[in-house]
Symmetry: C2
Subunit: 542 residues, 2 copies
């Protein structure tokens, strides 16, 4: 027998139409380069997005053509998220933190036809313009300055378009709508292409109550860049539920974010741990007598903070909870849309004390619906016993099964079709994933594994430490030994002996302690704000 259900394809166009119909009065706020706020309604967003789609069609965009963006987080970038797919195109977000050489290579590999670029990013564009010829470059006048000759002005272009006469490009739910290159620390970046289907499914799953818990009355502040893993997919969720969005623009300094939170208090904010580490330090410093910022900020009470992209130290979770903000840790990657696991308060933990809740919150979390997850050891699936460790492998309708125009690699996909994440973890009986390391960051000492992530988190729990990254250095006797790179908090002192004593107290064995400490001014970071261990390894080869 057959189902009687309608055959209606999943489509982000539906989310756009829905927002235009239901949420026309809600607000989208963008912080401009001069730090003033620009306000749009969802009604304006809807009309402008359709105008963008119309302009793209008039410019000759064909089904599947790539339209690159080189933009900060703001309303026009959001318009690209929906307007490019509406016209049948594929939005390709270029990562402005990469080197110009890399950006140019990526634009060439993706064969991008058009580019939408912030005027304030034209200097960066000019550095890679020689590497790839876009047919048309549309400049968004983010700063309000006149657009230079030779470029299309985004606003004027939209004004000439026809949002009312516009018709959506016909599509299948498996057609691509967006593209993002992974920022691999080794090898060339590789492209992931999301579809209408994968995006709608990811949006529905991630928005659920225990995860983002998106509600129409929320106010969302996405600090996560829209050029990286689609700002974790939040723009799609916000538009689906008509949620007010506050975009920080180019101003990501802790002081700037705290200022913005005073003007537009969010109920939900998203960012990598680095952002929140800086923010809590700035905030706590402002509490001390004599601080020039004393009294300048309040933290938004009851706000939830989604943190991912790197392991979140328990000390950070405790620090924020002290101020009434709960950190919800997630784990995923560009390849997984990205939400794979989220650490949320489970019914089984109802009777548990705060120590147990913090401990769980510092884990990667529980797999979300539609994501199958397994931990693969040398001899097959590991038990979910909280101890057995292996590589996390995942499978599901919003997980990539290949890379754009790259031969399928053994290293990345298993024979039975699972994605190899390269993260090493255990899973416990409640399904909480605990990532111990990247496969390549594990430290093998005397035949035993030491987790660099565990060491880092423990070192960062010391009150005098701002940041810490641990790498392996070669060792004749033990094959590898840990080296800790530590950034002290301003005006704080701490020694290697202090930290080793602290680690012993935290439960580490003597043989697991770092052999060496290096005192840095800052830990080098990748374009997406993660600790860039490759750079540390170059600096400390032994």
């Amino acid at each position: 027998m057959q189902t009687t259900m309608m055959d209606v394809p999943l489509s982000v166009n539906h989310l756009l139409e829905r927002a235009g119909r239901l949420f026309a009065g809600n607000e989208i706020v963008s912080r401009l380069p001069d730090k003033s706020l620009k306000r749009h309604t969802y009604g304006e967003f809807y009309r402008r997005t359709r105008a963008l789609a119309s302009a793209l069609q008039k410019a000759g965009l064909k089904k599947g053509d790539r339209v690159a963006t080189l933009c900060w987080n703001h309303h026009a970038h959001l318009e690209c998220y929906f307007g490019i797919p509406a016209a049948g195109g594929v939005m390709h977000t270029l990562n402005l933190r990469l080197s110009p050489e890399e950006i140019g290579w990526i634009a060439g590999h993706a064969n991008d036809r058009f580019l939408v670029v912030d005027d304030v990013l034209l200097p960066l564009y000019r550095q890679f313009a020689g590497a790839h010829a876009f047919e048309k470059v549309i400049v968004f006048p983010f700063s309000g300055q006149p657009v230079p000759e030779g470029f299309e002005n985004y606003e004027a272009w939209l004004d000439r378009a026809d949002p009312d006469g516009f018709e959506y490009a016909p599509h299948d739910e498996n057609d691509p709508i967006a593209m993002c290159y992974t920022s691999g620390t080794t090898g060339r970046p590789k492209g992931v292409a999301y579809s209408h289907r994968s995006t709608v499914l990811h949006t529905l799953v991630a928005s659920l109550g225990d995860f983002w818990g998106l509600r129409g009355t929320d106010v969302v502040l996405p600090v996560t860049p829209m050029f990286h893993a689609n700002s974790w997919g939040m723009p799609y969720g916000a538009v689906m539920m008509g949620v007010k969005m506050v975009f920080p623009g180019p101003h990501l300094h802790p002081d700037d974010l705290l200022d913005l939170m005073q003007q537009e208090p969010p109920t939900l904010a998203l960012g990598v741990p680095t952002i929140w580490m800086g923010l809590i330090q700035a905030y706590e410093a402002s509490l001390s007598e004599g601080s020039p910022n004393r009294g300048r900020w309040k933290l938004p009470q009851g706000m939830k903070s989604l943190v991912g992209g790197a392991a979140v130290p328990e000390s950070l979770i405790r620090a924020f909870d002290k101020h009434g903000i709960w950190i919800l840790q997630g784990w995923g990657m560009t390849e997984t849309s990205p939400v794979c696991t989220i650490s949320y308060p489970r019914a089984e933990l109802r009777g548990a004390g705060m120590d147990e809740r913090y401990r769980r919150a510092a884990m990667a979390g529980v797999p979300v619906p539609l994501v199958e997850l397994r931990v693969r050891g040398d001899e097959g699936d590991e038990a979910w016993d909280g101890k057995s460790v292996g590589e996390i492998q995942v499978r599901g309708p919003f997980i990539t099964g290949s890379y754009h125009e790259v031969p399928r690699e053994r290293e990345k996909f298993t024979g039975d079709g699972w994605l190899r994440t390269g993260d090493v973890a255990s899973v416990d009986a409640l399904g909480f994933v605990r990532i111990s390391d990247r496969t390549k960051d594990l430290i093998k000492s005397g035949g035993e594994w030491i987790s660099s992530v565990d060491l880092e988190n423990a070192v960062m729990a010391h009150p005098a430490v701002a940041e810490a990254a641990v790498i392996a250095i070669p060792d004749e006797k033990w094959s590898e030994r840990p080296l800790a790179c530590v950034v002290k908090k301003p005006n704080q002192e701490v020694t290697a002996e202090d930290l080793n004593a602290h680690l012993l107290k935290s439960g580490f064995a003597k043989w697991q302690l770092p052999d060496r400490y290096e005192w840095l001014d800052a830990v080098p970071r990748t374009s997406t704000g993660k600790f860039w261990k490759l750079k540390l390894r170059e600096r400390f080869p032994r």
Copy 2:
């Protein structure tokens, strides 16, 4: 270009596996016929469900075979929800409120091969056993009594099965998993067949924060029968998030539900308005001095109550809110999986007073994601202005586009593929749907329409009225005129003059007032608890 995303079909089997893996310790509670509580864990549910699937396969179940259920709400019915699809079968829930003749006809039309039946419902089964021959009848020993000769014992059958050796039947996401016949008040019932895809999508959408808002820490009490529109789809949502469920079994009397709420306080309860009307009356009566139930019950503070299946009077919403319970109204039908609209507190209403919030809560609500909704008048789509009225038509991936083995009817589907719901409504600028009537329940008086639903709600807002149903009676001069059938509250008096004065004060025009009032002991109800106006029309032909 192509998406790089994996091609993984949506599947309710994934939800079952997920629950077995992640939520093994959570509880499922069922109230037995003797009113004692039976407790299972999700771990047991997982094993028993796979045992059921294994038993079905051993019994020779083939892909697409229908397995009927004739059961109350309890854990074994939940096992059927997942075990039958796991084996490749289609669960066909038989509505035990229908006449035996109708049930037999429906089982025959669906060509059901097996039947799972509660022992306490065997007397009902025997009344239609002659109309359709099931190959095998499996009796669930709900009451704990021995299972009569000639039937398979559900428990013994599961004991003989092989949950560990079991393998899921291969399937496509569009394969059917469940079937439900609409309880049409006219004509033969028609079958709707849900697929893996439609079910997973509906579950994700309905579970979102502003709708069911399902979280792992919830405790759900589904009073809505599992034999009607899949208990609104809640069993799928609860299993997806590992939510504790409390099943009321056959005990749906207000006193029984209130007793159950004391033992297992829910955070979320589902039912038709009738249930909640009875419950609040019983509860409020228990507060009065001299009541035999004085002090017996507390209402679960902060509980949300999902109410649908018929219009929810504003007076009911106010009555519950007085006691700390918020009623969330939804609208949908068997054909729509069923959730189409939900009335939730929108951001735009933040500044509104309670009167405005109650007014909105008494509407059908706002379309949920993936549901397209339009209001069709005589000359095309009506504007969303809160005034223009037409038939609601819907379209989406969890909405039926046909009926099982029935030729596609013009009356039910439009030429461009939308479902005609038969409900008449307006939609306002915020997208709130306000249902004024069933197309066939509108009263046409002197060329003007009178909404029977508006009149009913206003009459029910009178403090002396328990229930009211309004129908049209033929009238020589005006063509039709309203007749109100009213049930008074115990020990309360009210006259036609009182009610007319009350209606005038509520804003009705003189010509809209009922010409006649009939005083009933109870309003007749359909098998799903809705006012059965057909019976009233038979009783009051003029």
